[in-house]
Amino acid sequence: MHTLISQFWQLTFSGAVQGFIYVLISLGYTMVYGVLRMINFANSEIFMVGTFATVVITRDLLGHPANGPDLHGATLIFTMLLCLLGSMLVSGLVAMLVELLAYRRLRSLGTNRLAPLISAIGMSIILSESVSLLTEGRAVPDPEVLHKSSLATILGANIRIDQLLVVIVAPIMFFSLQRFVNHTRLGKGIRAVSMNEETAKLMGININRVISITFLIGGLMTGASAFFFETVYEATKFNIGFNIGIAAFTAAVLGGIGNIRGAFVGGLALGLLETYASAVLGSQWKAITVFIVLIVVLLFRPNGLFGEAVQQTRV
C-alpha cells in the first residue's frame, strides 16, 4: 500500500503505457466481435507475429545488429516508421488469412458458433507452433534502436521517451480508427454489418469484403501494438501472445466487447489496475486481481462498462 501512495504517479504512467498497448490489441478483438459476434481466438498470435515482424525488419531487413549503436535523427525516425508500418501490415495480412482459412467457409455454411471458435484455436496453434519451429522455441531479442533516455520527471514520475511515444501515438491511432469507423463509407459498411448482417446484404453491401477489411483493421491495430510492445520491452517469444492476449480480451470485455470506445476505456483501466495491483499485492497476484474485478464488473453490468449496444461507436 505504501508503494502505491509514494509512487502513485510513476505507477499511473507505466500503467497507462501498458494500458495503451492493451487498447490497441483489444481493438483487434472488438472489431471482429462487432461484425461476427465471435471471439477471434487467433488475435493473440496475430500480435505475436507482429512482434516478430518488428524484429525481422530491424535485425534482418535493415541489418541492425543485436547490440549495435542506438540510432539518431532521420535514420531513427525512418527505422521506427518502417517497423511500425511493417508490423501493422504483417499483422493485418495474417489477420485476413485467419479470416479466410478459419472463418469464411464456416460462415457461408452458417454452422453452430463453436466450430469457428475451434478452427480459430487451430489457426492460433498453427501460427505459434510455426514460429516456435522457426525460432527453436527460444526468446528472440529485438535490437535496441531508440535509446531509452529519461526526458523529464513530472510529479515524481520518470517519463521515458519510448513510453511517452506509446502514450502519444496509441491514442492518435485509436481516434483515427474511431473517425474511420464513424465517418467513412467503409466504416459505415462495417457498422451496418455489425447492426444487421442480413439487412446490410440487402442494401448491397459486400459482406465478405467488409468482414475481411474488419479483420485487416483489427490486425493493423494489433500489429501497431506489437511494435509498441517491442519498443518498450525489446524481446519476444513464440508464446508471448498468450498472456497478453488474455489480458487484452479481458479489457475488451470489461469495456463491453464490440464497442470501440469500450476497448479504449477497458484497456486503459486494465493497464492501470494491473500496475496498481502489482504494487499493492505483488506482481504474482495481478492476473487474479484483474479477473476478480472483471467478474465483479460483469455481475453488475452484464454487458461490460459501456454495453454492447452503443450503435454510434459500435463497430
Partner: protein
Amino acid sequence: MSNLRDQGAEFWAKWDRPRRVTFVIASIAVAASLPFAGNFSITNILNTPISSYQDVLVYPVGMFVLMALGLNIVVGKSGMLDLGYVAFFAIGAYSMAILGTHTHLNMWEIFPIGIALAMFAGVLLGIPTLRLRGDYLAIVTMGFGEIVRITALNTQKIGGPNGIANIPSPPSLFGLKFNISHPNSFFWVVLVLILLTIWMIRRLSIRRPGRAWEAIRQDEDAAELMGVPTLKYKIWSFVLGAGVGGAAGVVYASKAIFISPDAFTFNISVLILSCVVFGGIGNIWGVVLGGVFLAYLPERIRFISNARQLVFGIVLVLVMNFRPDGILPRKKREKALLTKDDLGGKND
C-alpha cells in the same frame, strides 16, 4: 457417411433387448481390453513411440474422454460456453494431493470429497455468473480457471510452483494393484467412471433435466417463459460437469504421484473443449471419439516431436471446416433446431 450417428440410432432401434445387452457387454469388454492391444504384432501400430501405451491410455486418453463427457453436459447439453473447465480438474487433483499427503485417507475415501469440493466450486462460481450469457460467460469461466491455477502457483503451503510430490497410490481393490507399474488398473477405474458418466447423461437426457437443458440451449428466453427454472437447471448442469472434472482430477493426481500448477493451464480447457466440438457437440459417442482421437493423436505422432502441435492445429482447422458439426454430429431432430443463434449468438 451421411450421418453415422443417425444410422447407428436406427440400427439400435431395430434391435431387441438381448441383442442390445450383448452389444453393450461386448463393447465394454473391447474397451476394457484396450491396454493389451499393444501386445500383438497386428495391433502394435497402436503403440505410442515415446511414452508407454498403457500410460497414454490413462492420461491423456481416458482422462480426456472423461472430462470431455463432463464438459459436454455444460457445453453440449445446456449450451453454455465454459473455457475454465480445467479448474474443476485442478480442484479434484489438489484435494487428492493435499488430503493424501496430510491425512491417512486413501484415494477411495478422498474420491467423494474431491467430487464434492469440485461441485461446491461449481455452485460457488455458477450462482453469480450463470446469469451471464455467451461470450461473457466464456471469459468469466476462463478467468476462474486462471484464478485457481495462479492461486495454486502462489500459495507456498501447497507447494507453489513446485507442486506436491509423493501422492500416495490407492490401496488394492478387488485384487487389483494400483501403482506406477500397474497403469492398467487406473485405466479400468477411469473406464468405470466413463461408463458411469455416460449412463448418468443418458438417464438425465430423457428426463426433466435433459429436456430443460435442451430447451435452454435452443432458446433460453422461451424456456424461461414456458416456466423452466433456467438458472436452477443451468447451475445443475454446471455442477454435474464440475463433479466429473473433479473425479478425473482425483484419479489423475493419484496416478501421476506428482502434480504442479503447470498441469492445469488454460490449454487443457481449450483441448477438452476441442474434444467436445471436434467429436460432435452434444453427442456422447462423438465426444468419446473426439476425446480418444485428440488425446491419442499427439502421442502417436510424437516421433515428429517438434511438428506434432502444428499437425494438431492443421487437423483442427481442416476437420472444423469440412465437418463443422464434428465427426459424429448430434441427432438430426436436435440439429434441425440448431441455428446460428445457438449458444446465444446474434439476436438483433
